[in-house]
């Protein structure tokens, strides 16, 4: 990390300039949310397909927000990514459990 510290500093300084990409992320989140709401509000689309749209929109939006707003795309985020990823794996198995293996 120390060897190319000065260049690293310059690039990060450069990266923190300007709110542009955050506003792009915001507009993207907005659009994805509106698509999701519209899919439900219209009531025209069949149930299964609506579910797919909803989950798809949510996943894309969360991915964008985590990458840009939570800086997970930046370097030095190996352990945060691993931590969240492992959490997501655990959650995934629990959702399968809840959908298929719970009754009464």
């Amino acid at each position: 990390m120390s060897s190319n510290h000065s260049t690293h500093e310059q690039t990060t300084r450069h990266r923190h300039e300007g709110p542009k990409k955050h506003i792009v992320a915001f507009v993207l989140s907005l659009v994805l949310t509106i698509i999701a709401f519209a899919a439900v509000a219209s009531g025209e689309i069949n149930t299964t397909f609506t579910y797919i749209i909803l989950v798809g929109m949510a996943l894309v939006q969360v991915f964008v927000q985590m990458a840009f707003w939570m800086h997970m795309k930046d370097r030095g985020h190996l352990f945060p990514i691993m931590g969240i990823l492992f959490g997501v794996i655990v959650v995934f198995t629990m959702v399968i459990m809840a959908e298929y293996w719970v009754w009464w």
């Binding site: 492992f86 959490g87 794996i89 459990m97 809840a98 298929y100 293996w101 719970v102 009464w104």
Partner: protein, 620 residues
């Protein structure tokens, strides 16, 4: 660094003595000792409960304790041993050893470390206050609903379980985060992940399991608490709740939990076996890979505790196969220990005896585990003493043997005094023989049909003799434990003269510094040049590690009473929730939040230990 010197005494050094020192300490070595004392006390309580259970079962149709008391005893025995004895004793070793092994001056969050201890302690006290309140948890350590729900358990017993574990769980979660951050961020220069001692690796993986498993328990306990206190319906079938949901949630937490217990033992055994064989650990990287694989699979097998619930053949088949897969990485570890011993010049110290004793015992527990993993056969074993024998073989034969090995091994590093070896060996043989007497016969009791968790049995069913043998074994384990206590007392009167490297064959960094270490651990953070860093330096004829920094004033965190007060706040709030005293609940939580606020607003500048003070040798 010299710029620091001017500031060394800029802030008044606040140091306490005596009791206040222990109540306010943020030093990982002292917190380790606190964990050991508290965990040890709960271990004695849990052990006493076990003895009472065994006395009741010494023969058919005894009425030494009533059926209700028996239920309370078995519930409190399981809960106490797992959450209040085994885990804290592991945390004791983690605290005492990990920062030393990675060449750090403390953990990443010393304040949270102290908070973690005190929340565990008060959670444990809350749970055990139930004995005096007259409402004791009696639904088993798994607390299955509807038995634990408000309909069938209207007293406050299970409330103590829910709130006690909730508070203790906070402490465990904090500990997990703390040790993960410590191991990632605070390793000495040169110590890459693949140069870490195996105990550090095992604690890293264990901490990861804690971080991802404990929140599941938190939610499960919240749901049960809401059901019991606020008429929620998570598990109330009459209003749409699901009892199967509790089983899932509990075991999604519970299975990783039992791996949280055994993994540190794997690490301890790796250290002990390698040290006392005078050989480096065989198959280091396969050991690491096996740990990671076991941890991952550990999250994918919870439903093997629920084969008879009726999940259906597909789910049972999947979980059956996933469970059996775990035998592969575990087998890798067993063979690696054997190959480490192979051709080594083995020394039979007490620690080494426990370490070597661990291997066959744990293997037996593993083999019965594979038997239980076969879903169709499990219908036969389910809820019998076969299961009891299995998990005592892995928990006592595995984890407790590991803890005793670790205690004898690191005792000189923790206290500066080596435990008596003769008494130690007596302790080992008494405990080890007692253990096998107690639990080996239980396999057969289970196979011929004795159900677990039942307070008595009828004569002439073939149960009588084996139960008698089992009870005698339990007494032997009790006698062994008393020998350990005597050993500790005797040792504490001896001179504090343990060498830096009392076993002479130490391999990792903790053996390169005094026993016990000064409060800053390393005067200069060492430079790590290979795995088994200290061994390498010794082999090159060096008397100490190569430093990676010049001598300078050392920055230390200030002691604080706030963790204790925060935990007392939660303790009070627990009673408030339980007995519908809103002012107590709000007051207790308020006290905790107030401490958090003060902690946030007033920066902790810590203090510096100057070079002159280092020369004098500030002892922990």
């Amino acid at each position: 660094m010299t710029a620091h010197a001017a500031h060394a005494h800029a802030h008044p050094v606040k140091r306490y003595r005596g009791l206040m020192d222990w109540l306010t300490t943020v030093d990982h070595k002292k917190i380790g000792i606190l964990y050991l004392i508290a965990g040890g006390l709960f271990f004695l309580v849990g052990g006493l409960e076990a003895i009472l259970i065994r006395i009741q079962l010494i023969g058919p149709q005894k009425d030494f304790v009533g059926a209700d008391t028996f239920n309370e005893l078995l519930t409190m025995h399981g809960t106490t041993m797992i959450f209040l004895a085994a885990m804290p004793m592991l945390f004791a070793l983690m605290n005492a050893v990990i920062p030393l092994q990675i060449g750090a001056r403390d953990v990443a969050f010393p304040f949270l470390n102290s908070l973690g201890f005190w929340t565990f302690f008060f959670g444990g006290v809350l749970l055990n206050v139930s004995w005096f309140a007259g409402h004791v948890p009696d639904a088993g350590w798994t607390s299955y609903v509807p038995l634990a729900g408000p309909t069938y358990n209207s007293g406050h017993g299970v409330d103590y379980y829910v709130l006690g574990l909730q508070i203790a769980g906070i402490g465990t979660l904090l500990g997990g985060i703390n040790f993960m951050a410590t191991i990632i961020n605070m390793r000495a220069p040169g110590m890459s992940f693949m140069r870490m001692p195996m105990f550090t690796w095992s604690i890293f993986i264990t901490s990861m399991l804690i971080v991802f498993a404990f929140p599941v328990l938190t939610v499960g306990l919240v749901a049960l608490m809401f059901d019991r206190l606020f008429q929620a319906n998570f598990f109330e079938t009459a209003t749409g709740g699901s009892t199967v949901l509790w089983e899932h949630v509990f075991w999604v937490f519970g299975h990783p939990e039992v791996y949280i217990l055994i993994m540190p033992a794997f690490g301890i055994i790796s250290e002990v076996v390698s040290t006392f064989s005078r050989k480096r650990l065989f198959g280091y990287s396969s050991m690491v890979f096996a740990l990671i694989l076991i941890a991952f699979l550990g999250f994918m097998v919870w439903a093997h505790h629920m084969f008879t619930t009726g999940l259906g053949p597909v789910a049972n088949g999947l979980f059956s196969i996933a469970t059996m897969l775990i035998a592969v990485p575990t087998g890798v570890k067993i063979f690696n220990w054997l190959f480490t011993l192979w051709g080594g010049s083995i020394r039979f110290t007490t620690a080494s005896l426990f370490g070597i004793g661990f291997i066959p015992t744990f293997t037996m527990g593993g083999v019965t585990g594979v038997m239980l993993a076969a879903a169709p056969a499990d219908y036969q074993y389910h809820d019998t003493y076969f299961v009891v024998a299995h998990f005592h073989y892995v928990i006592v034969g595995g984890l407790i043997n590991g803890i005793f090995a670790g205690l004898f091994y690191w005792w000189p590093k923790m206290f500066g005094r080596t435990l008596n070896e003769t008494l130690g060996k007596w302790f080992f043989w008494t405990f080890y023989i007692g253990f096998h007497m107690t639990f080996f016969v239980q396999h057969f009791l289970g196979l011929i049909g004795m159900p677990r968790r039942v307070w008595t049995y009828l004569p002439n069913q073939g149960f009588d003799t084996m139960n008698l043998v089992s009870t005698i074994g339990a007494f032997l384990m009790g006698i062994g434990t008393i020998m350990l206590l005597i050993n500790i007392v005797i040792t504490s009167f001896k001179a504090k003269n343990a060498a830096n490297d009392p076993w002479e064959d130490g391999r990792s960094l903790e053996w390169s510094i005094p026993s016990p270490p000064p409060e800053y651990n390393f005067k200069q953070i060492p430079l790590v040049r290979s795995a088994d860093a200290w061994w390498k330096e010794k082999m090159e004829g060096k008397k100490e590690m190569t430093p990676s920094e010049p001598v300078g004033p050392i920055h230390m965190p200030s002691p604080s009473i706030k963790p204790l007060i925060m935990s007392i706040g939660l303790f009070i709030a627990g009673f408030g929730f339980m007995y519908d005293k809103l002012y107590l609940a709000i007051g207790g939580i308020g006290l905790t939040l107030l401490c958090m606020l003060l902690r946030s607003v007033y920066d902790d500048h810590g203090f510096h230990i100057s070079e002159e003070e280092q020369e004098k040798g500030v002892q922990a």
